[in-house]
Symmetry: C2
Subunit: 223 residues, 2 copies
Protein backbone atom coordinates (compact mmCIF):
# COMPACT_ATOMS: atom_id res chain seq x y z
CA UNK A 1 0.00 0.00 0.00
CA UNK A 2 1.28 3.44 -0.91
CA UNK A 3 1.02 5.24 2.40
CA UNK A 4 3.88 7.63 1.79
CA UNK A 5 1.49 10.55 2.17
CA UNK A 6 0.92 10.10 5.88
CA UNK A 7 1.21 13.19 7.97
CA UNK A 8 0.66 14.73 11.38
CA UNK A 9 -1.18 17.72 12.73
CA UNK A 10 2.05 19.51 13.31
CA UNK A 11 3.09 19.19 9.67
CA UNK A 12 -0.35 20.10 8.40
CA UNK A 13 -0.48 23.19 10.58
CA UNK A 14 2.98 24.19 9.43
CA UNK A 15 2.01 24.08 5.78
CA UNK A 16 -1.36 25.71 6.35
CA UNK A 17 0.25 28.55 8.27
CA UNK A 18 2.99 28.89 5.66
CA UNK A 19 0.36 29.24 2.98
CA UNK A 20 -1.43 31.94 4.96
CA UNK A 21 1.82 33.84 5.43
CA UNK A 22 2.78 33.54 1.76
CA UNK A 23 -0.65 34.79 0.75
CA UNK A 24 -0.09 37.84 2.92
CA UNK A 25 -2.95 36.94 5.22
CA UNK A 26 -1.26 38.65 8.17
CA UNK A 27 0.19 42.12 8.13
CA UNK A 28 3.93 42.43 8.75
CA UNK A 29 4.71 42.98 12.40
CA UNK A 30 1.59 41.19 13.59
CA UNK A 31 2.21 39.13 16.70
CA UNK A 32 1.06 35.55 16.37
CA UNK A 33 -0.19 34.33 19.72
CA UNK A 34 -0.16 30.63 20.29
CA UNK A 35 -3.56 30.36 21.96
CA UNK A 36 -5.19 32.48 19.28
CA UNK A 37 -3.69 30.38 16.50
CA UNK A 38 -4.53 27.18 18.34
CA UNK A 39 -8.16 28.20 18.52
CA UNK A 40 -8.26 29.27 14.89
CA UNK A 41 -6.60 26.06 13.72
CA UNK A 42 -8.61 23.84 16.05
CA UNK A 43 -5.58 22.18 17.60
CA UNK A 44 -3.67 22.51 20.83
CA UNK A 45 -0.68 24.77 21.34
CA UNK A 46 1.80 21.93 20.88
CA UNK A 47 1.63 21.57 17.09
CA UNK A 48 1.28 25.34 16.79
CA UNK A 49 4.54 25.88 18.61
CA UNK A 50 6.38 23.42 16.40
CA UNK A 51 5.00 25.07 13.28
CA UNK A 52 6.01 28.53 14.47
CA UNK A 53 9.53 27.41 15.18
CA UNK A 54 9.92 25.92 11.71
CA UNK A 55 8.48 28.96 9.98
CA UNK A 56 10.82 31.19 11.95
CA UNK A 57 13.73 29.07 10.76
CA UNK A 58 12.42 29.58 7.23
CA UNK A 59 12.64 33.32 7.75
CA UNK A 60 8.92 33.98 7.56
CA UNK A 61 8.59 34.82 11.24
CA UNK A 62 10.72 36.60 13.77
CA UNK A 63 11.23 35.15 17.22
CA UNK A 64 12.31 36.49 20.56
CA UNK A 65 12.66 34.16 23.58
CA UNK A 66 9.80 34.48 26.04
CA UNK A 67 8.14 37.05 23.83
CA UNK A 68 6.92 35.02 20.91
CA UNK A 69 6.65 35.21 17.17
CA UNK A 70 5.72 38.02 14.81
CA UNK A 71 5.25 38.26 11.06
CA UNK A 72 8.44 39.32 9.35
CA UNK A 73 8.45 42.46 7.29
CA UNK A 74 10.09 42.11 3.88
CA UNK A 75 11.45 45.32 2.45
CA UNK A 76 11.86 45.66 -1.29
CA UNK A 77 15.58 45.39 -0.69
CA UNK A 78 15.10 42.09 1.14
CA UNK A 79 13.17 40.72 -1.80
CA UNK A 80 15.66 41.82 -4.44
CA UNK A 81 18.47 40.40 -2.31
CA UNK A 82 16.67 37.08 -2.21
CA UNK A 83 16.33 37.12 -5.99
CA UNK A 84 20.06 37.75 -6.32
CA UNK A 85 20.80 34.73 -4.16
CA UNK A 86 18.38 32.60 -6.08
CA UNK A 87 19.89 33.72 -9.36
CA UNK A 88 23.33 32.38 -8.48
CA UNK A 89 21.86 29.18 -7.08
CA UNK A 90 19.80 28.41 -10.14
CA UNK A 91 22.67 29.63 -12.28
CA UNK A 92 24.89 27.06 -10.61
CA UNK A 93 22.25 24.43 -11.31
CA UNK A 94 22.33 25.20 -15.03
CA UNK A 95 26.10 25.23 -15.04
CA UNK A 96 26.29 21.81 -13.42
CA UNK A 97 23.81 20.35 -15.90
CA UNK A 98 25.59 21.92 -18.86
CA UNK A 99 28.94 20.55 -17.72
CA UNK A 100 27.77 16.96 -17.69
CA UNK A 101 25.29 17.27 -20.55
CA UNK A 102 21.54 16.81 -20.64
CA UNK A 103 20.16 13.43 -19.72
CA UNK A 104 17.55 12.07 -22.08
CA UNK A 105 14.88 12.35 -19.39
CA UNK A 106 15.64 16.00 -18.64
CA UNK A 107 15.81 16.91 -22.31
CA UNK A 108 12.34 15.45 -22.78
CA UNK A 109 10.93 17.19 -19.73
CA UNK A 110 12.33 20.57 -20.64
CA UNK A 111 11.22 20.32 -24.26
CA UNK A 112 7.76 19.55 -22.96
CA UNK A 113 7.71 22.67 -20.79
CA UNK A 114 9.04 24.75 -23.68
CA UNK A 115 6.22 23.45 -25.85
CA UNK A 116 3.73 24.37 -23.13
CA UNK A 117 5.15 27.87 -23.04
CA UNK A 118 4.86 28.11 -26.81
CA UNK A 119 1.24 27.02 -26.71
CA UNK A 120 0.36 29.45 -23.96
CA UNK A 121 1.92 32.34 -25.85
CA UNK A 122 -0.07 31.42 -28.96
CA UNK A 123 -3.37 30.99 -27.18
CA UNK A 124 -3.38 34.57 -26.03
CA UNK A 125 -4.83 33.47 -22.72
CA UNK A 126 -2.05 35.17 -20.84
CA UNK A 127 -3.53 38.58 -21.38
CA UNK A 128 -6.72 37.61 -19.64
CA UNK A 129 -5.07 36.93 -16.36
CA UNK A 130 -5.01 33.17 -16.63
CA UNK A 131 -1.60 32.73 -15.12
CA UNK A 132 -2.00 29.35 -13.47
CA UNK A 133 -0.84 27.26 -16.40
CA UNK A 134 2.14 29.50 -16.99
CA UNK A 135 3.03 29.33 -13.34
CA UNK A 136 2.89 25.56 -13.47
CA UNK A 137 5.01 25.41 -16.61
CA UNK A 138 7.56 27.80 -15.16
CA UNK A 139 7.81 25.87 -11.93
CA UNK A 140 8.27 22.61 -13.82
CA UNK A 141 11.08 24.10 -15.90
CA UNK A 142 13.06 25.47 -12.97
CA UNK A 143 12.47 22.50 -10.69
CA UNK A 144 13.42 19.91 -13.30
CA UNK A 145 16.81 21.56 -13.72
CA UNK A 146 17.42 21.79 -9.99
CA UNK A 147 16.47 18.20 -9.28
CA UNK A 148 18.70 16.87 -12.03
CA UNK A 149 21.75 18.33 -10.28
CA UNK A 150 21.28 15.83 -7.44
CA UNK A 151 22.63 18.50 -5.15
CA UNK A 152 20.36 18.37 -2.10
CA UNK A 153 21.56 21.59 -0.57
CA UNK A 154 21.16 23.45 -3.85
CA UNK A 155 17.58 22.27 -4.21
CA UNK A 156 16.75 23.10 -0.60
CA UNK A 157 18.20 26.59 -0.78
CA UNK A 158 16.66 27.39 -4.15
CA UNK A 159 13.25 26.33 -2.91
CA UNK A 160 13.66 28.20 0.35
CA UNK A 161 14.69 31.37 -1.43
CA UNK A 162 11.20 31.53 -2.97
CA UNK A 163 9.44 31.45 0.40
CA UNK A 164 8.60 35.12 0.40
CA UNK A 165 5.10 36.63 0.65
CA UNK A 166 3.62 38.19 -2.48
CA UNK A 167 6.49 36.88 -4.60
CA UNK A 168 6.12 33.21 -3.81
CA UNK A 169 4.21 32.34 -6.98
CA UNK A 170 6.02 34.61 -9.38
CA UNK A 171 5.40 38.23 -10.22
CA UNK A 172 3.38 37.32 -13.28
CA UNK A 173 0.61 39.67 -12.27
CA UNK A 174 2.73 42.45 -13.69
CA UNK A 175 3.80 40.66 -16.87
CA UNK A 176 2.74 42.00 -20.22
CA UNK A 177 2.65 39.68 -23.23
CA UNK A 178 6.06 41.13 -24.09
CA UNK A 179 7.39 39.99 -20.73
CA UNK A 180 6.05 36.49 -21.12
CA UNK A 181 7.70 36.29 -24.51
CA UNK A 182 11.00 37.42 -23.07
CA UNK A 183 10.80 34.86 -20.26
CA UNK A 184 10.06 32.17 -22.84
CA UNK A 185 13.07 33.26 -24.90
CA UNK A 186 15.22 33.01 -21.80
CA UNK A 187 14.00 29.48 -21.18
CA UNK A 188 14.85 28.50 -24.71
CA UNK A 189 18.34 29.95 -24.57
CA UNK A 190 18.99 28.30 -21.23
CA UNK A 191 17.88 24.97 -22.67
CA UNK A 192 20.02 25.47 -25.73
CA UNK A 193 23.08 26.33 -23.67
CA UNK A 194 22.71 23.25 -21.49
CA UNK A 195 22.00 21.11 -24.54
CA UNK A 196 25.17 22.31 -26.21
CA UNK A 197 27.17 21.95 -22.99
CA UNK A 198 27.92 25.65 -22.58
CA UNK A 199 28.11 25.99 -18.79
CA UNK A 200 29.12 29.63 -18.68
CA UNK A 201 26.33 30.67 -21.03
CA UNK A 202 23.72 28.57 -19.24
CA UNK A 203 24.72 30.00 -15.86
CA UNK A 204 24.77 33.57 -17.10
CA UNK A 205 21.43 33.37 -18.86
CA UNK A 206 19.70 31.83 -15.86
CA UNK A 207 21.02 34.64 -13.68
CA UNK A 208 19.79 37.11 -16.27
CA UNK A 209 16.42 35.40 -16.34
CA UNK A 210 15.93 35.46 -12.57
CA UNK A 211 17.15 38.99 -12.14
CA UNK A 212 14.88 40.22 -14.87
CA UNK A 213 11.95 38.96 -12.82
CA UNK A 214 13.39 40.88 -9.89
CA UNK A 215 13.66 43.97 -12.07
CA UNK A 216 10.01 43.82 -13.04
CA UNK A 217 8.99 43.35 -9.46
CA UNK A 218 11.14 46.28 -8.41
CA UNK A 219 9.41 48.52 -10.91
CA UNK A 220 5.90 47.58 -9.81
CA UNK A 221 6.12 46.84 -6.13
CA UNK A 222 4.76 49.52 -3.87
CA UNK A 223 5.56 49.17 -0.19
Amino acid sequence: MTDALKSTRSLNVTEALRELLLQGEFDPGTRLQETWLAERMQVSRTPIREALRVLAKDGLLEYAPNKGYSVRRFSLEDIVSAFRVRSVLEGLGCRLIAERGLSEALRTTLQSTLQSGENLLQSGQLERGEFDEWREMNKAFHLAILLETHNDLLVRFAKQSRNIPIVFNGSFRWYSLREFQRAHDHHQVIFDAMNQQQPERADFMMQEHVMHAAHILKKNYKD
Copy 2:
Protein backbone atom coordinates in the same frame (compact mmCIF):
# COMPACT_ATOMS: atom_id res chain seq x y z
CA MET B 1 21.64 45.47 32.50
CA THR B 2 22.76 43.63 29.37
CA ASP B 3 20.34 40.75 29.29
CA ALA B 4 20.42 40.27 25.54
CA LEU B 5 21.84 36.79 26.13
CA LYS B 6 18.67 35.38 27.59
CA SER B 7 17.68 31.98 26.36
CA THR B 8 15.45 28.99 26.90
CA ARG B 9 15.99 25.32 27.46
CA SER B 10 14.75 24.57 23.98
CA LEU B 11 17.35 26.82 22.38
CA ASN B 12 20.11 25.55 24.62
CA VAL B 13 19.28 21.95 23.84
CA THR B 14 19.18 22.74 20.13
CA GLU B 15 22.68 24.18 20.15
CA ALA B 16 24.06 21.48 22.44
CA LEU B 17 22.66 18.76 20.22
CA ARG B 18 23.91 20.51 17.10
CA GLU B 19 27.38 20.62 18.55
CA LEU B 20 27.26 16.90 19.33
CA LEU B 21 26.14 16.14 15.79
CA LEU B 22 28.81 18.35 14.24
CA GLN B 23 31.45 16.69 16.37
CA GLY B 24 30.33 13.35 15.02
CA GLU B 25 29.23 12.14 18.43
CA PHE B 26 26.54 9.92 16.90
CA ASP B 27 27.11 7.48 14.05
CA PRO B 28 25.15 8.16 10.87
CA GLY B 29 21.88 6.29 10.79
CA THR B 30 21.54 6.23 14.58
CA ARG B 31 17.98 6.73 15.71
CA LEU B 32 17.59 9.50 18.25
CA GLN B 33 14.83 8.60 20.66
CA GLU B 34 13.17 11.44 22.45
CA THR B 35 13.02 9.81 25.89
CA TRP B 36 16.65 8.76 25.70
CA LEU B 37 17.77 12.25 24.71
CA ALA B 38 15.51 13.81 27.33
CA GLU B 39 17.16 11.72 30.03
CA ARG B 40 20.66 12.45 28.77
CA MET B 41 19.98 16.18 28.53
CA GLN B 42 18.08 16.33 31.80
CA VAL B 43 15.02 17.97 30.32
CA SER B 44 11.56 16.83 29.30
CA ARG B 45 10.63 15.66 25.84
CA THR B 46 9.12 19.02 24.90
CA PRO B 47 12.32 21.00 24.31
CA ILE B 48 13.93 17.89 22.81
CA ARG B 49 11.21 17.64 20.19
CA GLU B 50 11.58 21.28 19.23
CA ALA B 51 15.33 20.89 18.91
CA LEU B 52 15.01 17.78 16.76
CA ARG B 53 12.63 19.51 14.40
CA VAL B 54 14.97 22.45 13.94
CA LEU B 55 18.00 20.25 13.37
CA ALA B 56 16.07 18.23 10.81
CA LYS B 57 15.27 21.46 9.01
CA ASP B 58 18.99 22.22 9.07
CA GLY B 59 19.64 18.96 7.28
CA LEU B 60 21.50 17.30 10.14
CA LEU B 61 18.73 14.83 10.90
CA GLU B 62 16.26 12.88 8.85
CA TYR B 63 12.65 12.69 9.91
CA ALA B 64 9.74 10.41 9.15
CA PRO B 65 6.27 11.06 10.62
CA ASN B 66 5.41 8.76 13.51
CA LYS B 67 8.80 7.12 13.23
CA GLY B 68 11.17 9.73 14.53
CA TYR B 69 14.55 11.19 13.79
CA SER B 70 17.83 9.63 12.76
CA VAL B 71 21.30 10.98 12.17
CA ARG B 72 21.83 11.87 8.54
CA ARG B 73 24.59 10.21 6.61
CA PHE B 74 26.74 12.57 4.56
CA SER B 75 28.43 10.98 1.59
CA LEU B 76 31.59 12.53 0.22
CA GLU B 77 29.49 13.65 -2.73
CA ASP B 78 27.07 15.42 -0.38
CA ILE B 79 29.94 17.28 1.21
CA VAL B 80 31.54 18.35 -2.05
CA SER B 81 28.14 19.46 -3.32
CA ALA B 82 27.72 21.60 -0.23
CA PHE B 83 31.11 23.19 -0.86
CA ARG B 84 30.09 23.99 -4.42
CA VAL B 85 26.99 25.75 -3.18
CA ARG B 86 28.94 27.63 -0.57
CA SER B 87 31.50 28.67 -3.15
CA VAL B 88 28.94 30.48 -5.29
CA LEU B 89 27.30 32.04 -2.23
CA GLU B 90 30.53 33.43 -0.83
CA GLY B 91 31.59 34.30 -4.35
CA LEU B 92 28.46 36.37 -4.70
CA GLY B 93 29.26 38.04 -1.40
CA CYS B 94 32.67 39.12 -2.69
CA ARG B 95 31.16 40.29 -5.95
CA LEU B 96 28.63 42.47 -4.18
CA ILE B 97 31.28 44.02 -1.96
CA ALA B 98 33.61 44.61 -4.90
CA GLU B 99 30.86 46.30 -6.88
CA ARG B 100 30.18 48.90 -4.24
CA GLY B 101 33.73 49.18 -2.93
CA LEU B 102 35.15 48.38 0.51
CA SER B 103 33.86 50.34 3.44
CA GLU B 104 36.51 51.73 5.75
CA ALA B 105 35.36 49.44 8.54
CA LEU B 106 35.55 46.29 6.41
CA ARG B 107 38.94 47.26 5.00
CA THR B 108 40.27 47.60 8.52
CA THR B 109 38.77 44.31 9.66
CA LEU B 110 40.06 42.36 6.68
CA GLN B 111 43.53 43.87 6.90
CA SER B 112 43.58 42.81 10.53
CA THR B 113 42.72 39.22 9.66
CA LEU B 114 45.33 39.22 6.88
CA GLN B 115 47.92 40.40 9.40
CA SER B 116 46.88 37.62 11.75
CA GLY B 117 47.35 35.12 8.95
CA GLU B 118 50.77 36.53 8.19
CA ASN B 119 51.80 36.25 11.83
CA LEU B 120 50.54 32.69 12.12
CA LEU B 121 52.47 31.64 9.02
CA GLN B 122 55.63 33.21 10.41
CA SER B 123 55.34 31.69 13.86
CA GLY B 124 55.47 28.16 12.52
CA GLN B 125 52.84 27.17 15.05
CA LEU B 126 50.67 25.77 12.32
CA GLU B 127 52.81 22.70 11.93
CA ARG B 128 52.29 21.69 15.53
CA GLY B 129 48.58 21.29 15.12
CA GLU B 130 47.60 24.55 16.76
CA PHE B 131 44.80 25.31 14.39
CA ASP B 132 42.49 27.25 16.67
CA GLU B 133 43.88 30.68 15.92
CA TRP B 134 43.89 30.03 12.21
CA ARG B 135 40.34 28.79 12.38
CA GLU B 136 39.30 31.94 14.20
CA MET B 137 41.10 34.18 11.71
CA ASN B 138 39.58 32.34 8.77
CA LYS B 139 36.09 32.54 10.20
CA ALA B 140 36.48 36.27 10.84
CA PHE B 141 37.62 36.86 7.26
CA HIS B 142 34.74 35.03 5.63
CA LEU B 143 32.08 36.27 8.02
CA ALA B 144 33.10 39.90 7.77
CA ILE B 145 32.62 39.81 4.01
CA LEU B 146 29.25 38.10 4.26
CA LEU B 147 27.88 40.46 6.89
CA GLU B 148 28.92 43.53 4.93
CA THR B 149 26.67 42.49 2.04
CA HIS B 150 23.63 43.13 4.27
CA ASN B 151 21.95 40.28 2.43
CA ASP B 152 20.20 38.28 5.14
CA LEU B 153 19.43 35.29 3.01
CA LEU B 154 23.00 35.10 1.74
CA VAL B 155 24.37 35.13 5.26
CA ARG B 156 21.89 32.52 6.44
CA PHE B 157 22.56 30.16 3.57
CA ALA B 158 26.32 30.55 3.73
CA LYS B 159 26.30 29.80 7.45
CA GLN B 160 23.95 26.87 7.00
CA SER B 161 26.06 25.37 4.26
CA ARG B 162 28.84 24.85 6.81
CA ASN B 163 26.65 22.84 9.17
CA ILE B 164 28.13 19.50 8.22
CA PRO B 165 29.79 17.03 10.59
CA ILE B 166 33.56 16.66 10.43
CA VAL B 167 33.84 19.62 8.06
CA PHE B 168 32.14 22.22 10.21
CA ASN B 169 35.36 23.76 11.51
CA GLY B 170 37.42 23.54 8.37
CA SER B 171 39.52 20.73 7.04
CA PHE B 172 42.67 22.25 8.46
CA ARG B 173 43.68 18.96 10.02
CA TRP B 174 44.93 17.95 6.58
CA TYR B 175 46.65 21.23 5.73
CA SER B 176 50.38 21.30 5.25
CA LEU B 177 52.25 24.57 5.68
CA ARG B 178 52.07 24.84 1.89
CA GLU B 179 48.28 24.68 2.06
CA PHE B 180 48.05 27.35 4.72
CA GLN B 181 50.23 29.58 2.59
CA ARG B 182 48.02 29.03 -0.42
CA ALA B 183 44.89 29.82 1.58
CA HIS B 184 46.53 32.99 2.83
CA ASP B 185 47.44 33.97 -0.74
CA HIS B 186 43.83 33.46 -1.74
CA HIS B 187 42.66 35.73 1.06
CA GLN B 188 45.06 38.43 -0.05
CA VAL B 189 43.98 38.25 -3.67
CA ILE B 190 40.32 38.32 -2.68
CA PHE B 191 40.94 41.37 -0.56
CA ASP B 192 42.89 43.04 -3.36
CA ALA B 193 40.15 42.34 -5.89
CA MET B 194 37.45 43.80 -3.66
CA ASN B 195 39.67 46.74 -2.78
CA GLN B 196 40.21 47.52 -6.45
CA GLN B 197 36.55 46.98 -7.24
CA GLN B 198 37.05 43.97 -9.49
CA PRO B 199 33.82 42.00 -8.91
CA GLU B 200 34.50 39.25 -11.41
CA ARG B 201 37.95 38.56 -10.02
CA ALA B 202 36.79 38.66 -6.42
CA ASP B 203 33.95 36.26 -7.12
CA PHE B 204 36.12 33.87 -9.10
CA MET B 205 38.91 33.78 -6.54
CA MET B 206 36.55 33.15 -3.66
CA GLN B 207 35.05 30.23 -5.55
CA GLU B 208 38.54 28.96 -6.24
CA HIS B 209 39.41 29.36 -2.57
CA VAL B 210 36.40 27.44 -1.29
CA MET B 211 36.65 24.68 -3.87
CA HIS B 212 40.31 24.20 -3.11
CA ALA B 213 39.34 23.39 0.45
CA ALA B 214 36.84 20.91 -0.96
CA HIS B 215 39.58 19.42 -3.11
CA ILE B 216 41.85 18.83 -0.13
CA LEU B 217 39.02 17.27 1.80
CA LYS B 218 38.20 15.03 -1.12
CA LYS B 219 41.75 13.76 -1.25
CA ASN B 220 41.92 12.93 2.44
CA TYR B 221 38.43 11.94 3.47
CA LYS B 222 37.91 8.24 3.94
CA ASP B 223 34.32 7.09 4.16
